[in-house]
């Protein structure tokens, strides 16, 4: 079947989708967006977290057909998404979201932790780098999407709020402390404290 959906602000269509396929598979294998990771395919690890109509979900547990006509934000579109939310321009120039080719070619343009300028990173991504919250990086896309959504809802989270919001995302490397640091840092920067 064919599935039409909006991914990172642009309409996309995926063809030859098997009816039992997951949204994660569509994103990775049909649209060529491997940012969302596939680790468990059973909702346990959160590395496939995307926003579906704004809500963080495990894309491995969304049937492709359920995403028909819906709006999806993946880690590849997070920087543009955050910029638009903050009322700024778009990194991609035109405010029409992130195209597939741009998204596929996406990489952190730089890691200037001093200024964060021109790096093409969302504040949460920059904070993860600055706090050293990325080791192998496999869990990172899911954590970024989940943490970004929490900060949107709750700009001044307590540690307990952060732990709860990220309780569906497993990391096998960092021991979570640096991830906590990163989210605290992003919250502080968002509040203008740093």
């Amino acid at each position: 079947m064919r599935v039409n959906l909006t991914v990172n602000g642009r309409p996309q269509e995926a063809d030859d989708v098997w009816e039992g396929e997951s949204l994660l598979y569509v994103l990775r294998e049909r649209l060529g967006l491997p940012g969302s990771k596939n680790a468990c395919e059973q909702g346990e690890c959160g590395s496939c977290t995307v926003r579906l109509d704004g809500v963080p979900v495990c894309s491995c547990l969304v049937a492709a057909g359920q995403a028909e006509g819906r709006d999806v934000v993946t880690v590849e579109g997070l920087a543009d998404f955050a910029r638009q939310r903050d009322g700024g321009g778009c990194a991609s120039g035109a405010c029409g979201g992130t195209g597939l080719d741009e998204a596929k070619a996406w990489q952190a343009g730089g890691t200037d932790s001093q200024t964060g300028e021109g790096t093409g990173l969302s504040p949460i991504q920059q904070a993860f780098i600055d706090a050293g919250a990325v080791q192998c990086g496999f869990c990172t896309p899911g954590l970024l999407v989940a943490a970004d959504e929490m900060l949107e809802r709750n700009p001044t989270p307590s540690d307990a709020d952060i732990r709860e919001a990220l309780s569906g995302n497993l990391c096998r490397c960092t021991g979570y402390e640096k991830i906590m640091d990163a989210v605290r840092l992003a919250a502080a920067r968002q509040g203008g404290a740093v």
């Binding site: 039992g20 547990l61 969304v62 049937a63 057909g65 359920q66």
Partner: protein
């Protein structure tokens, strides 16, 4: 495989009547795991996510009519006062991502003995609103809904439209044993609701028998003991011996198995502990409000 995408409840019932073997999919947090792991290859998937009615709830005089697909997150955020037991149970389900998708309709559809909504529904008192195109609507009492391990009272052509859950008329608690706070399928779970209006106590046990069950003998014992001691009126602390007897009877209501999550004897023991704790918590809260109203009078 065919993906059926009804746009309305009537269309969904018609599709289910035409294809009784179709597997409904709501949040997909049970169904997709089975498909991803090739444990299930249904001929038809019946997507319910386009039916807006299933995501709504109505707070009535005595009960809340909770749409089958209302996600756990919404229950936690919006129904804490009316359905405190279910809101607590919802909060223990998996993770935010899962709670954003999964709901009570899916929990009832799966009817796992470990489903967290069940003890809360049993303790509060509830009816499942099932509907078919051929026979219309019927209300299935929650006590009659669970018919076996992962089996329920639904007919092949029926879908769950909503659950009618009694609004709390007293304190409610839900408690669950697991290895960590998040992402844990219950080793065992316990729900307890005080119903001061009828001077009764109801319970629900999860993950300690082939189906979710009530500890009816324990309830009868406690109802009689509370009545006899005038506890509902005098608001006294429940005698430790009464609490102990209640806990023992709750343990006795279990019929658990050994599995990877825990042994049968551990489960029996832990259910007793949870029963005593939830009784203490709810009774303390009842005494608090009782004293407050006495003071005001």
């Amino acid at each position: 495989m065919d993906f059926l995408r009804p746009a309305s409840w009537e269309e969904a019932l018609a599709a289910k009547a035409e294809h009784p073997a179709a597997v409904p999919i709501a949040g997909g947090t049970d169904v997709m795991v089975e498909i991803n792991f090739d444990h299930r290859r249904p001929e038809y998937l019946l997507d319910l996510t386009r039916i807006g009615d299933l995501y709504e709830w109505e707070v009535g005089e005595d009960s809340v009519r909770l749409g089958a697909s209302v996600p756990y997150t919404r229950i936690m955020e919006n129904l804490r006062t009316e359905l405190p037991g279910l809101a607590l149970a919802s909060h223990t389900v998996a993770s935010p991502q899962i709670r954003n998708r999964g709901g009570v309709g899916g929990n009832l559809g799966t009817a796992s003995p470990a489903g967290d909504a069940h003890p809360a529904l049993l303790a509060a008192g509830a009816e499942v609103e099932a509907e078919s195109a051929a026979r219309g609507t019927r209300l299935i009492p929650i006590d009659a809904f669970y018919t076996g391990v992962k089996r329920n009272a639904l007919q092949p052509d029926e879908l769950i439209r909503a659950v009618h859950v009694k609004k709390a008329d007293g304190p409610q608690q839900f408690s669950k044993v697991g290895t960590r706070n998040a992402m844990v399928i219950a080793v065992c779970a316990f729900g307890l609701a005080l119903h001061p209006h009828t001077r009764t106590v109801r319970t629900g046990i999860g993950s300690a028998a082939p189906t979710p069950v009530r500890a009816t003998t324990a309830e009868e014992f406690l109802n009689a003991a509370l009545e006899e001691g005038g506890f509902w009126d005098n608001g006294k602390i429940i005698t430790p011996s009464v609490a102990k007897q209640f806990a023992d009877l709750c343990s006795a209501a279990c019929n658990p198995i050994d599995d990877v999550r825990g042994t049968a004897s551990y489960r029996r023991h832990a259910v007793g502990v949870l029963a005593r704790r939830t009784l203490t918590w709810t009774w303390e809260s009842y005494r608090g409000t009782h004293r407050a109203t006495e003071g005001a009078a």
